[in-house]
């Protein structure tokens, strides 16, 4: 049966979260590790993503916070001598790395066996030509693509196929560098970019408007196959599946179609020789029985994570077991524990996945969605009608929507165009069109969204309109109210439709009261994989109004503790809060309570039903949390480990009688509300940047007269700087204020003085009854002004004065005591010399909790949870001063996916993920972490544009080092002059704006041209100031660096640190040490 020679296995993770590769691989990797551990196999995990659950003690035996690249993986293999390796659980990153290790013979030389799908099968699916050839062998239709290695070849192929065509780059993550082209001009543009990612591009006939259907297939080595789930995209082909709303199971396929595609999927998987899990994506003709296979992913994917959550079938766990040699018949269905894993789940609900975009965080990015992925997260909603599922889901994405209707009016200039050219707002454009009287046929012909979905959506609109005919609940037929709830209407939406003149919160309360009095309450249903055919004591639950019976019998013993999760991953809130949630749950369960989780993000470990006693895969809205609270009758609720969403609910829950564990809700509010917080800080005699609440322009002007530009503008409830901006002059200020005021009417917008060239310091801590019992101080490498989520962070701090640290501790103690903190909290400080100012305080776990917990080796969440449970844990004795190593957290950016976005950093967060690496000293740790986020050490040529005078001075030493080490420096005008004046040899290159200037044109090389020709290995481009002209010039250089995949650093301090690091040590000097060796 299973190979008994396999005693030690290396598992490759996916590194930092990025667009196209996010938390789903923490989930699949964690499941694989669990499956291996169960067999007594020693597990070695390589993953620099320190915020993940998989990189936790007890999940893997040994963890290397190292880049998932062939170089480092080979080093680990040489050190650990494993017998096996798993490549399919760390996304495209792990798969690509594995293929390289296989091709270079590293695996064979070291007798490392690839478990699961053989590498050749992976190559057959990854290389388009091989793939088509392979499927041709069994007469399966693919989208025939013509490989082109030059632009001319691409043009010829397109002419032969006929436009529209799609261009794809071979071997690219989730559609990177691909795009649709309607004509030759568009083809030229797209090809240029695609060639920068891959020497080969593929030209294909476009099948825009076809349905997109996916099947998740599992195969064991005995050739037994099952399809665990199929999924249908709401959006037709042409929109990347990661950008599309997806439902499971398929809704518009007949039995014949469903099983035709299922049979094909199995045939394909058998022919390719998958062992484990794989997905098959189809384009399916909406008007005839015709299909094309789009692609096959021979690994766990975002879709497989979704399918696992949608069905309750643990795909990654089973795939890992099959990789070890088990047959599907050997394994049990982990839900029923009795029936076998060889079966296909029957769903008795519908799930809906909706992507979450954060495009407003980026300057200059196009909001159109298409064949490459831009979304940063997703939600999964569960219901027993499509209307219910989609309305839940639209609330879950957390961008201000209350459902499909009842939202703030969306401004759309041209509805036809907005329907034809989808953006991140597409679903709301459909809503608007329906309200504007567009027929289903009209919308269908513009969007190609199947009429079935549109009919269902129209029913939501009809119900809303019907409700608007009434002015109170009592006058409304109960059946209408019931129908609205069955269609997923929230109390808020109903209140908005019916009580048009009343304060919305009050109206909402009336609706809730009224419907409860009339027995209109949701029921709890289990996800049991078999549609109730077999008894299953599952704890995987959702709430629905389409039902009359509860599946759960509650104990009513006050022994449950509810943890509110973090919702959709977004910029500023991702896997780190999942780690916090999971650790809180573990502590709760270890202390003898029932751990109850509410969350709806399919990319997480916290929504794995193994992690808790009851999982509600449902909304984190006030309404739904109250529904669950009333059912559970828990000991209390934890709101401080899931980031800002639960934090924002605290006050209202508290006012409704919910028992919040830990810091009081009123204190949370004091920290959240800038005004309240500021008065407290003032009262405590703690310094803070000057700020003022915005009411009139006169107020601002007199305030700015006092503090001077630049100023920072932001609303009071802030998550990762949403709608926060620095304004350098009055025009910018006025422009921005109109936007900021739109974000939140209820909480005032504040303007504060913006401190330049200050250090920024993070204080992460746990307090009990207002007394700090554990803390971690970490220091940003960049000066303040780079959002803390984008900054590179060192822990323990390396360059802080002892006096600074002492003052910070004192201030933090005062604040903890004033806010009576019991639980986790984070304070951000500015320091200039030893002068300290407080900028922000969050009475919840922060983004850096997993990082500092893992570097310090004290689990701050476990400690905080014990505090919140009232267990009065003892303060740990260890302090950061005892550490004889350094941890560095670096940020991962996904600019390459965000066409046209300016890759410059500011007060608004832009990174999509992070890594944390440990080294014996600063340079080593920095190098590991920078390499982990995709940079490489430059070989020869470095292009420098060093910004303003101060930045130029900051960078001078590093530039000198580069020249000393034999690097060739290229610099734009001002930087060139400065370097020369200071005795550093450099060659001048032209700014884009200088290229047509007769004085300079032709005299010097063009910076852009050098980038295009890949003559540059590293770009250091520090924006000089934020005037449009300067930004424009720099923008082109920065964007070119991103588009041509050349490492880019835009911050002088980080650039200096990186340059110092790689000039002071060689790759060979980097220690290959596992976490436990520090």
């Amino acid at each position: 049966m299973i190979d008994s020679n396999i005693k030690k296995v290396v598992v490759l993770g996916s590194g930092a979260l990025k667009i196209g590769e996010a938390g789903e691989f923490d989930y699949s990797g964690s499941q694989a590790l669990k499956a291996l551990k169960e067999e007594g196999i020693e597990t070695i995990l390589i993953n620099p993503n320190i915020a993940t659950v998989q990189t936790s003690e007890q999940v893997a035996d040994k963890i290397y916070f190292l880049p998932v690249t062939p170089y480092f993986v080979e080093k680990v293999i040489l050190k650990e001598r494993p017998q096996g390796i798993l490549l399919a659980f760390g996304g495209q990153t792990a798969l690509n790395c594995g293929v390289e290790l296989y091709k270079s013979g590293v695996l064979e030389r070291n007798s490392v066996k690839v478990l699961g799908t053989p590498v050749q099968a992976i190559i057959d699916t990854e290389d388009r030509e091989l793939f088509v050839e392979k499927l041709d062998q069994i007469d399966v239709k693919t989208i025939k693509s013509h490989a082109a290695e030059t632009l001319q070849q691409a043009k010829d192929a397109a002419a032969a196929l006929g436009y529209p065509v799609i261009i794809r780059a071979a071997y690219a993550l989730g559609g990177l560098g691909s795009g649709f082209c309607d004509n030759e001009q568009e083809l030229e543009q797209t090809c240029e970019k695609a060639f920068s990612f891959s020497p080969q591009v593929l030209v294909e006939k476009s099948l825009k408007g076809w349905k997109e259907i996916e099947y998740e297939v599992v195969r064991d080595r005995y050739d037994n196959c099952i399809t665990v789930c199929n999924m249908e995209n709401f959006d037709p082909l042409g929109i990347h599946t990661g950008e599309s709303i997806v439902v499971a199971p398929s809704q518009t396929l007949t039995n014949e179609e469903y099983h035709y595609l299922r049979e094909l999927a199995i045939k394909i998987v058998r022919h390719i020789g998958i062992v484990g899990e794989c997905n098959v994506q189809y384009a399916f003709n909406p008007d005839a029985m015709d299909y094309r296979v789009i692609e096959v992913n021979a690994r766990l994917s975002r879709s497989s994570a979704l399918a696992s959550k949608a069905t309750g079938y643990p795909l990654a766990f089973v795939a890992a077991k099959l990789g070890l040699g088990y047959g599907l018949f050997d394994l049990k269905n982990s839900v029923t524990k009795e029936t076998p894993a060889f079966f296909e789940p029957a769903l008795d609900y519908i799930v809906c996945k909706i992507p979450r975009w954060d495009l407003s965080k980026f300057h200059g990015v196009s909001r159109k969605i298409g064949s490459s992925m831009k979304s940063v997260g997703e939600v999964m909603s569960i219901g027993r009608s499509f209307e219910e599922a989609i309305q839940k889901g639209l609330r879950m994405i957390g961008q201000g929507a209350h459902g499909f209707v009842g939202n703030k009016e969306l401004k759309v200039e041209d509805i036809d165009e907005a329907l034809r050219e989808p953006t991140d707002k597409r679903i709301f454009v459909v809503s608007k069109a329906m309200n504007a009287g567009y027929s289903i046929d009209q919308i269908h012909s513009l969007t190609r969204i199947d009429r079935w979905f549109l009919e269902k959506l129209e029913r939501i609109v009809l119900t809303y309109k019907k409700m608007q005919e009434y002015s109170d609940c009592a006058g409304m037929p109960l059946d209408l109210l019931r129908q609205a709830k069955m269609q997923g209407f929230s109390d808020f939406q109903i209140a908005r439709a019916v009580y048009r003149d009343m304060a919305i919160e009050e109206a909402q309360t009336i609706v809730r009261q009224y419907r409860k009095e009339h027995g209109i309450v949701p029921v709890v249903k289990q996800i049991d994989t078999l549609a109730a055919e077999f008894p299953a004591a599952t704890n995987y639950l959702y709430l629905t109004y389409n039902g009359t019976g509860n599946d759960v019998r509650y104990e009513n013993d006050n022994k449950s503790v509810i943890v509110l999760g973090s919702g959709a991953y977004r910029i500023g809130s991702s896997v780190e809060f999942d780690w916090c949630s999971v650790n809180a749950l573990q502590t709760i369960r270890n202390e003898g309570y029932r751990g109850v989780m509410i969350n709806y993000n399919p990319e997480t470990v916290s929504t794995d039903y193994d992690m808790c006693d009851r999982l509600y895969f449902d909304e984190l809205t006030f309404e739904r949390v109250m529904d669950i609270y009333e059912l559970e009758q828990p000991h209390g609720v934890i709101v401080s480990v899931g980031g800002q969403i639960p934090n924002n609910l605290a006050l209202r829950l508290d006012q409704s009688g919910v028992r919040i564990l830990g810091t009081k809700a009123s204190c949370i509010d004091k920290a959240e509300d800038r005004h309240k917080f500021s008065s407290i800080v003032d009262a405590l005699g703690i310094d803070q940047p000057k700020w003022k609440e915005l009411t009139t322009l006169d107020d601002i002007n007199s305030f700015i007269d006092e503090v001077g530009y630049p100023v920072l503008v932001r609303p009071s409830y802030v998550l990762s700087g949403a709608a926060m901006n620095v304004c350098y002059n009055e025009e910018e200020l006025r422009k921005f204020l109109s936007l900021a005021a739109e974000v939140s009417k209820k909480h005032p917008v504040v303007v504060s003085e913006f401190m330049q060239r200050c250090k920024e310091i993070e204080f992460d801590a746990v307090a009990d009854g207002g007394e700090v019992i554990a803390y971690a101080i970490s220091e940003h490498i960049e000066f303040a002004g780079v959002h803390s989520g984008d900054a590179t962070i060192q822990f323990p701090p390396q360059k802080l004065y002892v006096e600074t640290v002492r003052r910070i501790k004192k201030i933090a103690k005062k604040i903890a005591s004033a806010l009576e903190i019991s639980g986790p909290f984070n304070i951000q400080f500015l320091a200039k010399d030893n002068a300290i100012k407080v900028i922000e305080c969050n009475l919840r776990a922060s983004r850096s909790f997993p990082f500092v917990s893992k570097v310090l080796k004290i689990n701050l969440i476990e400690l905080a949870t014990k505090v919140m449970l009232g267990l009065k844990p003892a303060a740990p004795r260890k302090s950061a001063f005892d550490l004889d190593y350094v941890g560095i957290k670096a940020s991962q950016f996904s600019f390459s996916r965000l066409q046209q976005a300016d890759p410059v950093l500011g007060v608004d967060m832009a990174s999509t993920g992070e890594v944390g690496c440990i080294g014996d000293e600063f340079n080593e740790a920095l190098l590991k972490s920078i390499l982990s986020v995709g940079y490489s050490i430059p070989e020869k040529n470095v292009l420098v544009s060093s910004g303003d005078a101060l930045n130029k001075a900051d960078l001078l030493g590093a530039c000198r080092l580069l020249v000393e080490k034999g690097y060739r420096l290229f610099a734009t005008g001002g930087s060139y002059k400065y370097l020369l004046e200071n005795g550093v040899q450099a060659e001048r290159v032209l700014w884009p704006s200088e290229e047509n200037d007769p004085e300079t044109a032709g005299k010097y090389a063009s910076a852009l041209k050098m980038l295009q020709d890949r003559e540059i290995d590293l770009v250091v481009n520090v924006p000089k100031n934020f005037t449009p002209v300067e930004l424009q010039n720099g923008y082109k250089i920065r964007r070119a660096a991103v588009d041509f995949n050349i490492p880019l650093i835009t911050n002088a301090r980080l650039a200096t640190a990186f340059i110092r690091a790689f000039t002071s040590m060689k790759m060979d000097d980097i220690q290959i040490k596992s976490w436990d060796q520090y």
Partner: protein
């Protein structure tokens, strides 16, 4: 935008599903506006309502579909091919007595559809009820076993007792009344029609087999044929002693025999084994079966309320397939003669097509 009439539940007629143990589910009426009664059974299949509703094996039953969204892709036309085999359905008409669902799509979307589920049920005079918590109902059926029930629209009065369809010979109800021939080919198969699904006909005809379809109680031993096929069918196999006697006679000739579903049960009974009623049957597209003595497993489509008792199989017979969920019999074979059968539906329709190779196996023996 015109507000469509039937959009609001308060404007629709109510209906109640009443179980023989007194439990009531309130919902709304759709399809035919009239009452019905029968054995309430559930199916966990997620697609294939046109196929299920026309499957003669559902004769006498009220079908509860656990998948909550039904009617999405409408209903295709009822055309037939050159042999008179329905193109899109499993028989000439709807065989369920009533349909119980959660959410009904009155609007449908499919290129192949010509009418809505609602309209089709109305035309065929089959009552439907929607707005039912089908999961809750399924749990009740699972715990108490299948039971009698009725769908009663508002304004109609109807009460228990109602006749138990399992006390009637449902096979006699749905079987053809005369001999019908299909297809052309060198080999001729006699098909005993206990309520045959049209996809079984298609599976044979597409493989170039001539089919002689005979009524359930017809003595086919007078005919000249190469192989015997015993079809699926509804209800209790104990009513089909005539058929069993005919099969016994056929076994003496040694010609290949293949049975599906009811065919499996009748072949078993002819072999001397016993059948019994399952608590709530197998009705789904996801039943895992394993070929005995191998590592080969298949996902199968099933629809049956009775099963073969493995322990009563005579010496010369052995189980061919076993249900991996509950260990029940899923097929038998003779140790030396070309006789075998499957409890599941290799012809699928609706359901997965993993086991269609059994037709090839049978044909290769002819």
């Amino acid at each position: 935008m015109n507000l469509r009439n039937l959009s609001f539940r308060m404007e629709r007629k109510g209906a109640t599903l009443i179980l023989e143990n007194g439990i009531r589910f309130e919902g709304w009426s759709f399809g035919y506006d009239g009452p019905c009664d029968g054995e309430v059974v559930f199916s966990t299949a997620m697609v294939g309502y046109p196929e299920s509703l026309t499957d003669p094996s559902y004769s006498g039953q009220i079908l509860c579909v656990t998948y909550p969204l039904i009617g999405n892709y409408g209903v295709p036309d009822d055309g037939v091919d050159e042999w008179g085999i329905s193109k899109n359905f499993e028989s000439e008409k709807i065989h369920v007595r009533g349909l119980v669902i959660s959410d009904c799509s009155f609007e449908y979307s499919h290129w192949n559809a010509v009418k809505s589920l609602d309209q089709w049920l109305r035309e065929q005079k089959i009552p439907g009820i929607y707005g039912i918590d089908t999961r809750e109902l399924t749990k009740i059926l699972r715990e108490n076993g299948s039971m009698l029930g009725m769908i009663v629209p508002e304004g109609v009065s109807k009460s228990f007792p109602v006749p138990d369809p399992n006390m009637e010979n449902q096979v006699a109800v749905v079987s053809c009344k005369e001999v019908i021939r299909y297809g052309k080919g060198e080999k001729k198969v006699v098909m005993v029609d206990c309520g045959v699904k049209h996809n079984i006909l298609r599976c044979f005809v597409n493989r170039g087999i001539e089919i002689v379809r005979v009524p359930w109680d017809y003595d086919f031993n007078t005919l000249d044929y190469d192989g015997l096929f015993i079809s699926n069918g509804p209800g209790n196999p104990e009513f089909c002693d005539v058929t069993v006697a005919n099969i016994r006679k056929a076994m003496e000739t040694g010609k290949p025999i293949f049975g599906i579903c009811m065919g499996n049960q009748l072949l078993c009974r002819a072999a001397g084994a016993k059948t019994y009623k399952l608590k709530y049957g197998h009705r789904s597209h996801n039943q895992p079966v394993r070929m005995v003595g191998t590592n080969r497993c298949f996902i199968t489509s099933q629809n049956h309320g009775f099963a073969v008792d493995n322990s009563t199989l005579p010496q010369e017979w052995e189980p061919l397939f076993i249900n991996m969920n509950d260990g029940t019999n899923e097929g038998i074979r003779h140790r030396s003669k070309p006789f075998f059968s499957a409890q599941f539906h290799p012809e699928a329709s609706s359901g997965p097509t993993d086991t269609e190779f059994l037709f090839d196996e049978f044909i290769s023996k002819l």
